[in-house]
């Protein structure tokens, strides 16, 4: 058991007060390592809440620099930081919020070649990307490396998320098989998205990570949660692992490949 300082006891008191978290749960949070892929609309709230919660080590991957059009939803970045690498801007905000957490930045785009090395040291991965190629790559890598992770996606007024425990619960490919053909579905950066929807979904993902770390409650395993912010309808869809899933079923995949278009060329 970690020896909490007075300052930490006070900072995390509202976690410790929770019967399902308590000192033991906070101890796990402080020892946890979480990787957030993408420091954009989803990654902003996720990384910020995880830093606030005291997650011991937070990795954050993003190859982009801050663009003025990001600021409508990517709340980790400020106007003065346009042109600054997103991971750098994110690190500043997170460190200011909670100097007690370790922040590891990866200023790169994930691709088949680098992803396994990057996810290796973490206990949990958050998918905060904005395109199908990246989402499938993350799913494949997490299945291969047996890393539990939270999938998230938003478009216009809609959001969806599921939490995956490779080998035990349905993976992203069990449900969605393959990325849609290029151009069939617009990325949110080109179709538009209500900024707050990013916050709604990102905070759900952060909560999932914390639930997983502490063991409190039931994560969204085998469950797809989707909502529409216009009607505020939330829906849960029960999922089942596909025994013949090309990624996690049968023999599964042996090695990674980049989906088209190449992830590394995409602007986040």
């Amino acid at each position: 058991m970690r020896d909490f300082s007075e300052e930490e006891l006070e900072r995390y008191s509202r976690h410790i007060l929770l019967a399902d978290v308590g000192v033991e749960g906070q101890d796990k949070i402080c020892a946890a390592r979480v990787l957030v892929v993408g420091a954009g609309g989803l990654g902003s709230p996720v990384a910020y809440y995880l830093a606030a919660a005291g997650v011991g080590t937070i990795g954050i991957v993003d190859g982009d620099v801050v663009d003025l059009s990001n600021l409508q939803r990517q709340i980790l970045h400020g106007t003065a930081e346009v042109g600054v690498p997103k991971v750098e801007s994110a690190r500043r905000k997170m460190a200011a919020l909670n100097p007690g957490v370790q922040i590891e930045t990866w200023q790169t785009m994930l691709c088949a070649e680098n992803i396994l090395d990057i996810v290796a040291p973490y206990d949990f991965v958050i998918d905060g990307t904005d395109n199908f190629a990246a989402k499938f790559l993350i799913n494949d890598a997490c299945v291969l490396a047996k890393k539990p992770y939270s999938h998230g996606g938003i478009l216009r007024f809609d959001g969806q998320t599921m939490t995956v425990k490779p080998g035990e619960s349905a993976c992203y490919a069990c449900v969605f098989h393959e990325p849609p053909p290029a151009g069939a579905v617009p990325a949110c950066s080109s179709a538009g998205v209500l900024g707050a929807v990013a916050g709604m979904l990102g905070t759900i993902q952060a909560a999932e990570a914390l639930k997983f770390i502490t063991g409190a409650g039931t994560p969204l395993f085998d469950t797809l949660l989707s909502f529409n912010a216009k009607t505020m309808d939330f829906r849960k869809t029960k999922l089942k692992r596909n025994p013949r899933c090309r990624v996690c079923g049968g023999e599964g995949i042996a090695r990674l490949r980049d989906y088209q278009p190449p992830v590394c060329d995409l602007k986040g």
């Binding site: 058991m1 909490f4 006891l9 006070e10 008191s13 410790i16 007060l17 019967a19 308590g22 000192v23 033991e24 101890d27």
Partner: protein, 773 residues
């Protein structure tokens, strides 16, 4: 309009009382259980075992001549033959025997009087300005409102089991002679156009923590006074502190919640009470005596003329007079009361003639001038105070150390000496009519020093190591709507010099008086500095060996001492002594030289500083060191390693001893207990509480933590931290503050599956034992 009507519920309550009284007498009900039943009926036990005091509710002090005669009869038959006027304008009968309870209550009920709500945590006697209905300055007579309020409150069950007492006061004018500004709920009459209503003050009161009422509403229509008072009462009932009676009054709730929150709660409650109905009042007509043709004024003897100047005032009703009957300490002998009742019945054809007042005097009213000559001899016989200037009869004192455990000095003795001195002095005391001179024996406000023109509270001072009785001096209180304030401290004087000091202040004030509206004005305009200068002349006393007189308190046969004066709730007098030594010690420690003189001084101050907390007042170095050894070293409060330094010539190590004493002082709480002591007592309490056979080593706490001063929810957070670090089945002991912490933490601990083994009160705090799940 001659007093309240007793609601039928009180008679029902009395039937219950009779049954339980029978059980008590036959031994089926124990004394403690019966206490909770008799106290709300106004029956308290006195100091002598098996003798009781019966309190009688008199709303606004109203009592008819017939009731006064009946009360006199009860006092003669079942009590000590005196009627005592209380500080809420009610009455008390003393020395009532257990076997006479029922007779007393029945006789009171026959006379239309009751003690219900006379004591305990109830709605207390409603106070009204004793001049209500006759004062020329009043907006209207609030007596009917007070009566209607009393009847409504008496009839409700929820008025008799509150967190603490609940005091209501009414004034008819901005002069606030009813003390609305110092009440839990105070009403001051106002008119808004033609509509009658009241300005409302809330959460005032006097005590160890006095507070002026907060101006709550500018105008409350007269029809809604009960609605409001009931809503406040319900909020108080639901939220008041039932654990610590010393911090339970409405004023503590206000300070706890903040004004805004309390306003919110009351604001939510009012519509609920309104919707329930039953809050509507039927206000009786205010009494108006029949118009008089003023006849020729009969010539008065010189004695009667002097009495008239002192105690008789003209009413707003032409031809009618009010008369003050000053009483020594509020006592009216029964036979004098009966004579007074008969004289009044003969003099006027109506009952509205008597009011008992919260200044513990009786006020007569609605007397035609023709009735005065006949009343003069009756009143002169009723109280010797009628032959003295009003100032002397008006001096307020508490009982002080003579009978009160909290008292430090004996203000009744001071008052007697003061009266003697002032009577002999060439002072025009009649020109000082209305001057408020009040004395308390300790910082509590029983002697009302905080609302005096010149007020005093008792303390202990020290001259050359020897204690002597002294008083802190307060000056310049004001009462009145919007201007009320407490008196402020201007200095201190030796008790021995108090009479001469008061004489000096009054002489000065008489000379200054023509230039100022009142004493408070003079105090504000620089009079405070003059009074402070005078006080300094009377502050010091000669050395003990030169003149021992100042070291005796008035009327006491032994040298003044705090010995045996334990840790009361009012130890402020002791704090001053400790602080004085601590300051001197600090100064001595700053001197770098280790001269034998300085080291000896350090050792003496360090050893003496905390002795008063043990009820010791040793004199002389040898005595002080011996007492220190016994109280602090032998008891283990100070580490025994210092033992060598209190023996023989002082050594430089006494500096470390001094630091240890100051550190120990830092752990002292306001019951004058130190950290080590508290832990020991708590362990003893837990051991005493534990069921027999379970007190073994396994029951000893594995961890003890002091979370006093740690607010919610951090105290629970820390408790969880402790439990997380312990093994299942181990015992954790924590100290928690009273109030929210003790209300919440054990509950939350249980909620997480741990066992709460014991919860024991410890001074202001609580000790809680927990077994980890």
């Amino acid at each position: 309009m001659t007093g309240y009507a007793i609601p039928s519920s009180v008679h029902d309550d009395f039937s219950t009382f009779q049954r339980q009284y029978a059980d008590f007498v036959s031994g089926k009900l124990d004394a403690l259980a019966f206490k909770t039943i008799r106290v709300p009926f106004g029956i308290y036990e006195q100091r002598a075992p098996q003798t009781f005091m019966a309190r009688v509710k008199l709303t606004g002090g109203l009592i008819t001549p017939a009731q006064l005669a009946a009360l006199a009869g009860i006092a003669q038959d079942y009590a000590n033959g005196k009627i005592h006027v209380t500080t809420r304008g009610g009455a008390q009968l003393h020395d009532v025997k257990v076997e006479n309870f029922l007779f007393v209550i029945e006789a009171l009920h026959r006379a239309g009087l009751t003690g219900r709500g006379g004591g305990g945590n109830t709605v207390r006697n409603v106070v009204v300005d004793p001049h209500a209905g006759v004062a020329p300055d009043e907006v209207f007579d609030p007596t009917p409102h007070a009566l209607a309020m009393t009847e409504k409150m008496l009839a409700r069950k929820d008025s008799h089991a509150l967190p603490r007492k609940y005091k209501i006061a009414f004034s008819g004018s901005a002069a606030d002679r009813g003390g609305a500004c110092f009440a839990d709920v105070g009403f001051i009459a106002r008119e808004n156009g033609k509509a009658r209503g009241f300005r409302v003050y809330l959460a005032g009161g006097m005590g160890a923590h006095s507070r002026l009422g907060t101006s709550w509403l500018d105008f409350l229509p007269e029809s809604e006074i009960f609605l409001f008072a009931q809503a406040v009462k319900e909020v108080f009932d639901a939220r008041g502190n039932r654990k610590n009676k010393h911090a339970a009054r409405l004023r503590f709730l206000l300070e706890d919640l903040g004004e805004e929150t309390l306003r919110g709660l009351i604001g939510e409650k009012i519509p609920q009470v309104r919707a329930r109905g039953g809050w509507e009042l039927s206000l009786p007509e205010a009494f108006a005596p029949p118009a008089l043709d003023a006849g020729p004024t009969p010539a008065a003897s010189p004695e009667e003329a002097l009495w008239r100047r002192r105690f008789v005032t003209r009413q707003k009703q032409a031809g009618y007079y009010s008369v003050k009957l000053p009483l020594a300490l509020g006592d009216l002998p029964a036979e004098k009361a009966r004579a007074l009742a008969e004289a009044l019945s003969a003099a006027v054809p109506f009952d509205e003639t008597i009011r008992f007042a919260s200044d513990q005097n009786v006020y007569l009213r609605n007397l035609p001038e023709a009735a005065l000559p006949g009343l003069f001899p009756v009143l002169s016989a009723a109280s010797p105070q009628t032959q003295k200037p009003a100032l002397l009869g008006d001096i307020v004192v508490c009982t002080g150390a003579a009978t009160c455990q909290l008292g430090i000095t004996v203000p009744r003795g001071a008052q007697a000496a003061l009266e003697k001195r002032l009577s002999a002095a060439e002072l025009d005391l009649d020109a000082l009519q209305g001057f408020r001179l009040n004395l308390s024996g300790c910082p509590n406000s029983c002697g009302r020093h905080e609302i005096a023109d010149l007020g005093f509270f008792g303390k202990a001072s020290r001259n050359d190591g020897v204690l002597y009785p002294a008083y802190n001096v307060f000056a310049g209180a004001r009462t009145g709507d919007g201007i009320a304030r407490f008196a402020r401290k201007v200095g201190e004087v030796a008790a021995f010099h108090l009479p001469r000091f008061v004489q000096a202040v009054l002489t000065t004030w008489l000379a200054e008086k023509p230039g100022y509206a009142d004493f408070a004005d003079w105090i504000d305009a620089g009079g405070d500095r003059i009074v402070a200068d005078l006080a300094r002349r009377f502050e010091n006393v000669p050395a003990f060996d030169d003149d021992r007189n100042p070291y005796f308190d008035f009327q006491q046969k032994e040298v003044f001492s705090l010995k045996g004066r334990g840790a009361g709730e009012c130890s402020a007098g002791m704090y001053e002594l400790i602080e004085a030594d601590r300051k001197a010690l600090g100064a001595a420690l700053k001197l770098p030289e280790d001269t034998p003189e300085n080291l000896a001084l350090i050792r003496l101050l360090a050893a003496r500083m905390l002795l008063v907390t043990r009820g010791e007042d040793a004199r002389g170095e040898a005595e002080v060191l011996a007492a220190f050894k016994k109280q602090f070293l032998d008891s283990g409060l100070i580490d025994a390693e210092y033992l060598p330094f209190v023996q023989g010539p002082p050594r430089p190590e006494v500096r470390r001893l001094a630091e240890a004493v100051v550190a120990l002082y830092g752990t002292m709480d306001n019951t004058l207990k130190f950290a080590g002591e508290r832990a020991r007592e708590a362990t003893a309490a837990v051991l005493a509480d534990a069921p027999a056979g379970r007190v073994d080593d396994a029951e000893k706490a594995h961890r003890c933590k002091d979370y006093r001063g740690v607010a919610c929810p951090m105290n629970f957070v820390k408790t969880k931290m402790d439990l997380a670090q312990m093994q299942s089945g181990q015992i954790l002991e924590i100290l928690l503050d009273d109030g929210a912490p003790i209300d919440n933490v054990p509950q939350s601990v249980k909620g997480e599956g741990h066992a709460v083994l014991a919860q024991t009160r410890e001074g202001e705090a609580w000790r809680v034992r927990i077994r980890k799940k």
